[in-house]
Symmetry: C2
Subunit: 631 residues, 2 copies
């Protein structure tokens, strides 16, 4: 019975190997909040494993950086047979800030978005077979005997071997008396053998789900034998150095050599994230035999080195929307080079596989008569609306503000990001909360929304986003024609520098929210409906764990509707990608969604610019659209 010590209280208990860490804490008298009751969804029972080994499945509720820093959810952690030191953070910073107070179980990359019933069926499966000994004059080659062994279990389908497998067959089948594990991909009428290992290696079987955003890239490592998420890592897309948005990337790609540079940059980002995951979790890259990648159409073109020019030029034609399988070696992903890589299908030049993956997590995937709206807030904002009769989609150029791009002290939702702010109405001073409760490094999207709304509600900025220069505040500073707001003084910040936000930043954020809101409004117009007709609004995006619904409505990012119809589903592209990774059932459903979606080009709609201009106010020029927002 290993000793489990909790810090800073110093309490400890001898717990059984295999017992639950949250329960052990309770038995030791250590109070850990778990408002979901230990279901692993509220994310409140976060603790840090300072020393010792545990088995944990935090399912992506925690951010990648938290996981990397040994944070786990106590309720999802099993004690092993080594002594354990557990740090219990103060819980104060973790209250409030949730997307809706009712939705206690909202998380980030969430396996609970999976439908209840589905068949585990990844593209590549591992299977152990026993190959017969060679016999004199039986006329069978090594490959013939291996084929017979596979066909005995899987039927008479044609067996196709990759070159690398053939090169290993002779020695591998002789290493462990004919016992080999093959990695196979089954297609109608034929099975492809893409891996062979001596002995039973079916337990060494991982997959990766990759979401390539214009600004942020996320990689999730999945342990396929039980479908659990081993870990998730996110980082900025290294292509940012070549332009912040899609159009500037396409323009950059036009010069000789630049397309290849862009390809290498995104591969560098992906491969670094994979390298971190496999290193932390002690996984061999060669054991990763499944990969699914989603991204907007331009990101996929750049990943494959395809000329993106025709995406930008009328009639906006991409080279591919549905790609065949490529090998990891062809694409350049550092997993088993024989692994097939599947790319989520796109719908148009501006609605890509990230959206078909995201929609997979919503009721739009199994539509009834009720109308649903799906909003993916990224550097490109994509909107999907539909029910059983139709699915329509459009895109708008939101910009990277909510991911920290183009904002002076902006950052993505990672450790140290300010994710929630309160404003003292008298002094304008900020109280803030950071991801991980560490010293602040910058402000992420959810923090910006919170800050902007609170300053607005307290009257420190006006509906045009200008700071109030008329009232005295040590936090508002004027420099020439512009002013900025001090969120964190230098001595409190992690970097030793002030964390500020200026009026140019406010303009950026307002343009972003205006683009999203007006796109939603326009697509409803186009289908002859209004916001009031909506039964559900799904919000997807990389805001971290929380998105403050009230504040999002207050600044006019989201429409002023009954709060209960909103569902924040985090990085739904990554969740959907992970679903496709785990089961071909989801892959087929995603293909069906893609084929049913109709793309609308907003830029050709004469009403768009009017709607956009009207939305460049907080919350809107037409305040009657936001009756519950009192300024």
């Amino acid at each position: 019975m290993p000793l489990v010590s909790f810090q800073p209280s110093g309490k400890s208990i001898n717990a059984k190997a295999g017992s639950n860490l949250l329960e052990a804490a309770g038995a030791a008298g250590v109070e850990i909040t778990a408002s979901c009751g230990g279901k692993g969804t509220c994310g409140k029972c976060i603790v840090r494993i300072a020393s010792g080994d545990v088995e944990s499945n935090s399912l992506g509720i925690l951010t990648a950086d938290e996981l990397a820093d040994a944070y786990v959810l106590a309720c999802r952690t099993t004690i092993s047979d080594t002594p354990l030191t557990v740090e219990v953070p103060e819980q104060t910073g973790r209250k409030g800030g949730k997307f809706t107070s009712a939705a206690e179980d909202s998380g980030l990359i969430r396996q609970e978005l999976f439908p209840r019933n589905w068949q585990y069926n990844p593209l590549a499966v591992k299977w152990c077979v026993s190959v017969a000994e060679p016999e004199l004059e039986d006329g069978l080659s090594d490959l013939d005997r291996l084929t017979l062994a596979i066909q005995k279990d899987w039927g008479k389908d044609e067996i196709v071997y990759s070159f690398e497998v053939i090169r290993k067959v002779a020695d591998t089948i002789r290493e462990d008396a004919g016992n080999v594990t093959v990695t196979m991909i089954r297609e109608p009428g034929r099975s492809h053998i893409i891996g062979i290992e001596a002995g039973n290696k079916t337990e060494n079987h991982y997959g990766i789900a990759v979401d390539i955003g214009t600004t942020t890239v996320a990689v999730q490592l999945v342990y396929l034998p039980d479908g659990s998420i081993t870990g998730t890592r996110t980082d900025y897309n290294d292509q940012i150095g070549c332009g912040l948005d899609i159009i500037s990337r396409i323009n950059y790609a036009a010069k000789k050599g630049n397309l290849e540079e862009l390809r290498k940059r995104v591969l560098t980002t992906i491969n670094k994230l994979i390298a971190k995951l496999v290193s932390i979790h002690h996984v061999k890259p060669d054991d990763i035999y499944n990969a699914v990648i989603s991204g907007n159409t331009t990101m996929i073109h750049l990943l494959l080195g395809l000329n993106p020019e025709y995406i930008r030029l009328e009639p906006y034609t991409p080279t591919i929307l549905r790609a065949p399988y490529f090998t990891a070696a062809e694409v350049g992903i550092d997993i088993n080079p024989q692994s097939w890589v599947y790319l989520s299908p796109g719908v148009g030049s501006y609605v890509g596989g990230d959206i078909t993956a995201g929609v997979l997590c919503t009721d739009l995937a199994t539509p009834g008569e009720e109308l649903s709206l799906f909003i993916d807030i990224g550097t490109n904002g994509e909107i999907v609306i539909g029910n059983c009769d139709f699915i329509m989609t459009c895109a708008c150029s939101a910009g990277p503000a909510f991911e920290g791009g183009g904002i002076k002290c902006g950052m993505r939702a990672a450790l140290g990001a300010i994710e929630m702010v309160d404003i003292d109405p008298e002094t304008a001073g900020a109280r803030y909360q950071t991801i991980g409760d560490v010293k602040p490094k910058g402000i992420c999207g959810s923090g910006m929304i919170s800050l902007l709304a609170k300053l607005l509600l307290a009257g420190w900025i006006d509906p045009a986003g200008k700071l109030d220069r008329s009232r005295e505040s040590e936090f508002i500073r004027v420099e020439g024609r512009s002013a900025y707001y001090l969120i964190v003084p230098a001595d409190e910040s992690d970097t030793g520098k002030e964390i500020v936000i200026n009026e140019v930043d406010f303009e950026n954020i307002i343009r972003t929210k205006a683009a999203i809101y007006s796109a939603c409004s326009l697509i409803l117009d186009q289908v002859g409906m209004s916001f009031a007709d909506l039964s559900t609004v799904y919000i997807a995006g990389g805001f971290g764990r929380f998105l403050d619904l009230e504040m999002s409505i207050s600044i006019g990012l989201l429409p002023d509707l009954d709060r209960s119809i909103f569902k924040y589903i985090g990085n739904s592209s990554l969740t959907g990608t992970c679903m496709v990774l785990m089961s071909q059932e989801f892959r087929e459903k995603q293909l069906d969604i893609a084929s049913r979606m109709t793309y609308i080009d907003l830029s050709s709609d004469p009403g768009y610019m009017d709607k956009y201009m009207s939305a460049l106010f907080l919350p809107h020029t037409d305040s009657s659209l936001f009756p519950s927002v009192k300024i």
Copy 2:
């Protein structure tokens, strides 16, 4: 009307462009022998194009080196619109020496071995399609529109694109108003697109047939639109530096790094031959989209970098006998890297795809009740016997003697090789004939057979292969216990050195012929038949244009049977490989042959050594087996 001049006669004529060169020679009063009547099969109307351009299809009747040196068959050559200088060699050296006097039309690599009726159907076909223009909001990617264009002509099969094609699609379909040529491979239910070019490029379509022998490698370039042979080149397998026979190569491969060296050596040979062919014939390697390779099982393993060790060790198990398709890039062949490479199927560790390709040129491919014997005389000798009821095969280690290996002045059948010898019974002096009628460089297999037989018949060597030291001759020289025979004095040879053959060489040649004869005899025993039961005997091998039947029987290489049942079919492996290249009909027939063949392991037969020892005499220890040979 271009002027055509004939040398050395100086006669000339103004001929029409497009007219036949043999006819033009006749009109100019230049006598050129064409005993087959201009059918292109006798090989006698050989001339050399000293200057000017012609269109010629010499169909492999000429050796690769002859073709490279601008020799053509006049009957198969069409005059173009440039002035022409034609060298007409003296015809004397070309008389006699044919395999049988009756078979005037015997050649080397011979398209006339093809069955009369067959369907042109190479693996990869080129097809020109017209891709529709992109339209706004049609929801179709470039690839979608290309797929629709292909499916319009070829039906609704799934279309699978290679990565390299996808990378080129966008720019290629916009280059010539949507007209593109795709290179496609059709499989049941799906077509693979492995190439795309702007405009109609269906005329740029070549294939290569490759025969990898232990000693000699041959590459044939085929123009697929009309199935004509553009050229053929042969060279020594560069692996010779690592051992002369299969077993020594396998032993060599066992040391670290050596397997890769062997792979690179044979690739170097193949790629040099391809480079020569494409350079001479002005073909772009990227226009070669079809490749078929045949070789013995060890050669194929070494080409693919597969460990050959288990071929040598009981129970003699190869890694593969039937390979899936690989790409040229995977194998390392310098043609279009997307080209699929097909490997002829093998039967066992010692009967490979070269034999199934060779049998394809014989009546064994469409067997009736009559019994046929197929003998492929190479470094490994392979024997096939069968009729409609059965096909059996065995192999013997003949050694590389007939290809020049292990023989002091030996060489393969190339320009300057002594291919026929006459002996003056009195002086023992030699008169010889070389390939190309140039100064002699060495002696090839057919020359060795001729020389050995003539010395035997004239009494200058005894049935054990020892030179007669009792009679005086300036051509027989004794050094210690051994003696050698002077074929060509130093001042007559191309190298300036004497061309000789010694008693160790004779022993080598006798061992080779004994291995072949005893294997034939044993396989007949095993099926309960005798030489007298045979209806046809096919002789295959790289002897150059001719193999002297009488002389082959005189030394006991071939059985003493009615001469009319023998058919010399040259490099049948290359011919069969070329057939498979041109039509999938032959590929299927070859697979059927391979599956019907039963392999017999001679080494396990207790009678083999007795038969072999008895055959180590000229013609045989039992002279009653060779009644027509009078010594």
